[in-house]
């Protein structure tokens, strides 16, 4: 187990190094200097600016500097917001994104498992078809369209919920719902198919013949055993929520990290793009590792070992 985790950590560091390197050189290859938007600067000021941002050194030295600062978890100053560092942006935006993401993950899991379970228990009845139509809709509609649709109907036409901004709990419902829609649909389908498989097993028959009532069978035997594929979906779920947050936060005007990222793309604020990319990558890689470890703890049939030669 420890050996496995160590190996995984090693690969994680390697992957991160690749990501940092690729982002660094891509951003340096990007057209235009960060200061090109402003008026013609006197050469002395230009030189001063470049010295301040370390741009007067050779490309390789800049790269080494960047690697060192990433290890120190310091992503440097933002190029467009004067006086604000990328770390400030992250520590400001991330808590908001985290709250939204957690709410969306909760919604996706709760609604997805519920829909899937209902569909499996009422297999080939109208409940099954309704649940699967909802799931197909969730998979087929891109999240930004879902978000705009929800906003248009619930907030603009019916005025039930606030249109945008991030103030009260009511403000969080629409964005969380829009963010959760696609993963929810995937979870519903996973739950349904894995429950259908479990229902056919002998131990469910045994439980029935022991005289357990159907609620108890469903809760204690069927759902519990059908959850494994859903747990293994947690990694993709987290990454879907994370990338989904870019557009959702922009649509609803939520001051999270996703919105900062999108703004920095439009502004070509390279140091923010780089810093946030590295931050998101660390977040994703760590959470996927945690999910894998959790998976092995829940399911005793899975041994964390080298998957070589499977």
């Amino acid at each position: 187990m420890l050996k496995y985790i160590g190996k995984r950590l090693l690969y994680m560091v390697l992957t991160l190094w690749v990501i940092v390197t690729v982002t660094f050189f891509l951003m340096r290859a990007a057209p235009g200097s960060p200061f090109s938007g402003e008026k013609e600067l006197p050469p002395a000021i230009q030189a001063n600016l470049e010295a301040y941002y370390g741009l007067d050194k050779s490309l390789f030295m800049q790269y080494v500097d960047y690697l060192i600062s990433v290890v120190k978890w310091d992503f440097g100053p933002s190029l467009k917001y004067k006086g604000q560092s990328v770390n400030d942006l992250i520590s400001e935006g991330f808590p908001v994104s985290f709250a939204l993401g957690m709410e969306a993950i909760f919604l996706a899991l709760a609604l997805g498992v519920l829909l899937g379970a209902v569909a499996a228990l009422r297999h080939n009845k109208w409940q099954d078809y309704t649940a699967m139509i909802i799931a197909v809709l969730g998979i087929s509609v891109p999240s930004f369209i879902m978000a705009s649709g929800l906003q248009y109907v619930l907030a603009i036409k019916w005025s039930v919920l606030p249109v945008a901004r991030w103030e009260s709990f009511a403000h969080t419902i629409l964005p969380a719902l829009a963010l959760a829609s696609t993963p929810m649909a995937f979870i519903a389908r996973l739950t349904r198919s894995s429950m259908l498989e479990v229902i056919g097993n002998d131990y469910i028959k045994t439980a029935k013949s022991k005289g357990l009532n159907s609620t108890e069978i469903t809760v204690r035997h069927t759902i519990r055993n059908a959850m494994m594929p859903v747990v293994s979906y947690m990694g993709p779920l987290i990454s879907a929520i994370l990338t989904g947050s870019f557009v959702i936060e922009k649509i609803f005007g939520i001051p999270g990290l996703g919105m900062h990222f999108v703004t920095s793309i439009t502004n070509r604020d390279y140091s923010v793009i780089m810093g946030v990319t590295v931050f998101f990558s660390v977040l994703l890689l760590v959470s996927i590792l945690l999910v894998d470890i959790a998976y092995s703890l829940i399911d005793p049939r899975i041994k964390l070992a080298d998957k070589k030669g499977e």
Partner: protein
Amino acid sequence: MQQQKIPKELFEQVGGNTTDSEKISRPSISFWKDVWMRFKKNKLAMTGVVLLVILAIMSLVGPHLTPYNYYENDLMSANQPPSGEHWFGTDELGRDVFTRIWNGAQISLFIGIAAALIDLAIGVIWGGLSGYIGGRTDEYMMRFADILWAIPYLLMVILLMVVFEPGLGTMIAAMTITGWINMARIVRGQVLQLKSQEYVMAAQTLGANTSRIMAKHLIPNTMGPILITMTLTVPNAIFTEAFLSYLGLGVPQPLASWGTMASDGVAALQYYPWRLFFPALFISLTIFAFNVIGDGLRDALDPRLRK
């Protein structure tokens, strides 16, 4: 006791007719015919096929059904609702949405299919070689793939789109740069299973070289999973195109892609909702069609579900 003699005519030969018993009562069907028969029974998947055929035909015919083209502005008739003149209304520059939708269909379908084909080519070669050669080579090739695999897909696509000039080619390249790994892994897994089969050994004994064994024996037998992966790559690419367009990293104007039309539609939603409705409808229909076809194929190819 009187013994009765049974006349010879009453005897009849039973069985022994070898020609009839060896006859095959049903026409023999190949694996793919069998798959197709099961696929046909899946109504949802067939709906997807019909939808796709209609979409493909309309993407070629649609732009010619109207007197308009996708790039010409007509500011006098901007933002009109759907009418007899403009079936799907017009956008903020007075361009006919119906025409643009079908031009957009060409672009979106092209992106999806091109991405799937490139993934296929790289993935099959990489995964096939890695699985077939095995040993140290396999180890290195797969470790390389693992590291690329761990890079968050959309983040990398966004980064590439920021740096390079926006356009169709860049978009497809950005999508495939890490997109092929999924295909490579699936092909490798299949090849690992298949390469120890007797027919591969027979081919090796007969002196077939690696490329022949790969092309004639291994790849054809992994066609099923490859096909499923491809049908699920296409909607993913269309989805990504829409997502990138929303971030302002889509194909440049005046090209009409569904993603750019939808993201313009989002901006105009409050006053001109039909401008979001039509691109949203067609993006969703296409993703739906590919998804149900992929599901249908998976069910049809699954031997456990065979009756």
